[in-house]
Symmetry: C6
Subunit: 208 residues, 6 copies
């Protein structure tokens, strides 16, 4: 991981996560992309098994909560979804990008903007719980260095934040959550991105 | 495994199991989720081969007993089923979550609530037998710590329970069973969850 | 393998086999289950490659002899077949469950009962020959302990039986066979199980 | 490999091959079976990669020479083909069963009988050449012991036969061949087996 | 890698990349080819996982930006795409061919010529960022030796270029970019290749 | 590899290649076969990954140049193609059979004869370049021993030929080429083979 900086919220589906690495924390970008297709999911960026399962779990959550989040269900079967995590040669794994991937997909499916200067870390479960993750101190240092202002994480990680000296957390706002819907509430703006995708659907497919 | 607490019965498809780990017993949650689809089964949570086979066996049992349990058969081919076992990075295996996964699926397919304060452990077979499992003492200790009140297990595990001092089992009610239908009888309430899924089906598909 | 006891013949598709294990013989149960589907075959119970090939070979035999055995051919493409061999965590392999799996499938496809107190061991070939298998002495001891009364095996195993003292074989009836049709003749009763599956078929599919 | 004996020519698709093993030659049986289906090929009997490629090559040859051999082409897409080589637990590999597998398939597709007391060994190529194989001496001894009278092999193996003392080859007739069509000429009788399969076809499928 | 020379821009889909190898830099050719089909992607040339993910990411980018780039979307589902990187026996990996593969595909899909005497190196991300890569010095030396005149790379690689003595970069024009659209702007000429493919499409497929 | 001799040009799709082996050069035969099907490609003869990629690359080249070469495009989706390289038990790899496989496929698709007494060696690329290969000396010796008269190879291999004493190349005609179309020009006769396949096509498939 090179050390990256926050890069704005112009694009749907690009969300900033926080990663722990053996050489310190870093931010990472989840990039998600839709194209007309048949509901194929592609994952790239040298993702390990746990991280791939996180992505699949996030997608299942969104499918079964599409109405609440405002996603037209037909997008799941009439568009292909690709999630990429740069840099392409760096192996990545672990469940802590769960909420980041979920927000990235929610953004691309709704074309809504992501809150500015925001990063996040947290495991998700299929029913929509957010679980605590490790490496909080390193992740917070990395967030500051990358110009992040707001961070979403699990309530159970609050104690990890409080153990860190205030000089390290000054200027950062922490959004503690227990459920995915709180994550979406914080992360997704009502506003759509510039030039949003105008989804087109064929009539609901029948197998005959 | 961190040590978890019982978390209520508000959601369909979320069932509490008992797990043995090298550092003692713990509860685990089986989460199951349905979304419109084509009958695809997804398993996540770093499940080993034996545990995956348990899930598939439980699903086959439900398919061939759908009428008795009150499941509309079309759900198997017109919805996708995802079973996830948090925490996503912890490898899990063994057959002892068999009945827990079966109850989780039965709940999601019927939208019926799970009995409150209930946990369970037991292998299932394809014909619906419940088989005994190991680690009973540790599992019972974990259940108490997690605020569980009722436990389902195989009759053949009764002797393991009786070997444990009464001070450890006080306050716990044991439901010994031989067959899956007894498990469902104990675990699934008649009452449906709040905001149950309203299943919609296309006419029975023909491969015309 | 724990040591199991014979469990009756109430269910279609549940057949008792004889297994050799490093710690002595045991009986095992083959369980087979049908559900509306598309002809998918699922095998579970930690079966090794040879045992999986046995199952597939047995199924091919039944498909090409469906008329003689009284199986409606459409069941092969309009139902899914699942074969499970408990206990789910015990690895199993070898060809000697061939005839047991074949009888299990024949029973589920015809809904006919299995002869009571019967166990069997023997490899099958695709043309329907029954081949001898090893571990006969241990298997016979296990059969007696499990309350089995009748045993089917290959004629070529008769010499293995005769080498065993009569005190071990007393009370057991041996059915020596050369061909699968003899196995079915002995094992499958005319009588159907209680509440047999009432198969329903769509008209023969055309790929129109 | 146990030592087997020749078993007659009553069944279509059962052909006797000659195998070399570390403990001497043996005969082996290729069994082939057809059932209504979609053109799926199943190979079983613990076959290695080279042997599987031989089977696929033999099938391709038959498909592209169906007319000459008198095979209704629709059988390739409207029936499933299973090739099994007992004994199921014995690993087998090598190209020398090529002509045996080809004759087995030709017999099942045409329902013609195999010449009596015949065995064979030889690699095939896709264009229909027969190539020489090894282990000729051991194979001949095994053929005699198994009561074989006629043996088909490649012309290039004639020198291997001539190196063996006449006392070993007495009573055996050798059919040396260069091409698959000569193999079929020798091995397949005009006569059909008893109760031949009566093939039924749907009209030629259109992907409409 | 043998040392290759630049080979002109007559063909659509043939683009020159810069590679780092243990024995120095080299140019490599990305070759892309379309044929009527169903949207199948084939990658060859002993490409490693990271390089394959680069290709898939480039293709996803093009699919979701087809309109801007002037690609008829139906080409993605009605033609098959093959990307090959000679020499076929040399293993290749890494993300640095990302922009080269993207330009190759953009060229074949639009049938537009590539700028003459041009080479490039740079990772791409799914949202269209260009990332810096390593081995810049060796790559520049290789480009000169191969008669390249123009090189595209990431702005963040400018510092690597400036560290190299001017005698090595004389005669080379560097095009520093941050986004894929700048790469396409530089690399793709308006002019089409001689005898461009005339795409033919069936009406937009419906699944019924 | 046994040492083989040239075997004539009677059959479409059978082409002679030159191989380098640790025990000297040899000729090898590429055999290609078509049968009515759905465009499935089968490769056999224990081919390594590089050699399989060569075959796939050759096929892609032919698909995108079908018109020029005179191939009815529908053959790619309505026939199955099998490429086999005897001897079946000998592992083979490397890119040098690229042009040989391409000529074999071009011959089977057009049913045109191969030039007599011809062998060839050379890698192909997707755009149709022919690349030099190694082992030229050994290959030439093998060609002479096998009664070959004409050899096709890459211009860049000319220097390898010239390094060999004239006594070894006497009687051989070398055809140096840079592009696949030159290979086809030399290798494929206008004349068709005896009894050419009469291709039959269903109307162009629609996914209705
Ligand atoms: Ca970084
Ligand atoms: Ca993590
Ligand atoms: Ca836990
Ligand atoms: Ca267990
Ligand atoms: Ca047991
Ligand atoms: Ca066995
Ligand atoms: Ca044998
Ligand atoms: Ca062999
Ligand atoms: Ca090179
Ligand atoms: Ca690289
Ligand atoms: Ca040879
Ligand atoms: Ca080579």
């Amino acid at each position: 991981f090179d050390k990256d900086l926050y890069e704005g919220n112009d694009l749907a589906g690009v969300v900033t996560g926080l990663a722990w690495t053996p050489v310190g924390g870093d931010i990472l970008f989840i990039e998600t992309n839709l194209s007309k297709g048949k509901g194929v999911l592609t994952l790239s960026g040298q993702l390990g098994d746990v991280m791939k399962e996180s992505a699949v779990t996030a997608l299942s959550y969104l499918k079964s909560h599409a109405d609440e989040i405002g996603i037209d269900y037909r997008v799941f079967s009439q568009y292909d979804l690709h999630i990429h995590v740069p840099q392409g040669a760096v192996p990545k794994d672990g469940p802590s990008a769960g909420i980041t991937m979920l927000v990235s997909m929610a953004s691309i499916f709704t074309q809504r903007k992501i809150k500015k200067d925001l990063a996040m870390t947290g495991e998700i479960t299929l029913r929509g719980k957010v679980l605590p993750v490790g490496g909080i101190k390193e992740k917070i240092l990395a967030a500051k260095r990358a110009n992040i202002k707001d961070i979403i994480m699990c309530y159970k990680n609050q104690k990890d934040v409080e153990e860190i000296g205030e000089e390290y957390t000054k200027g950062l706002t922490f959004h503690y959550v227990n459920y995915v819907e709180e994550v979406i509430e914080v992360a997704l703006l009502e506003e759509k991105v510039k030039k949003p995708i105008v989804f087109t659907f064929t009539e609901d497919k029948k197998d005959c």
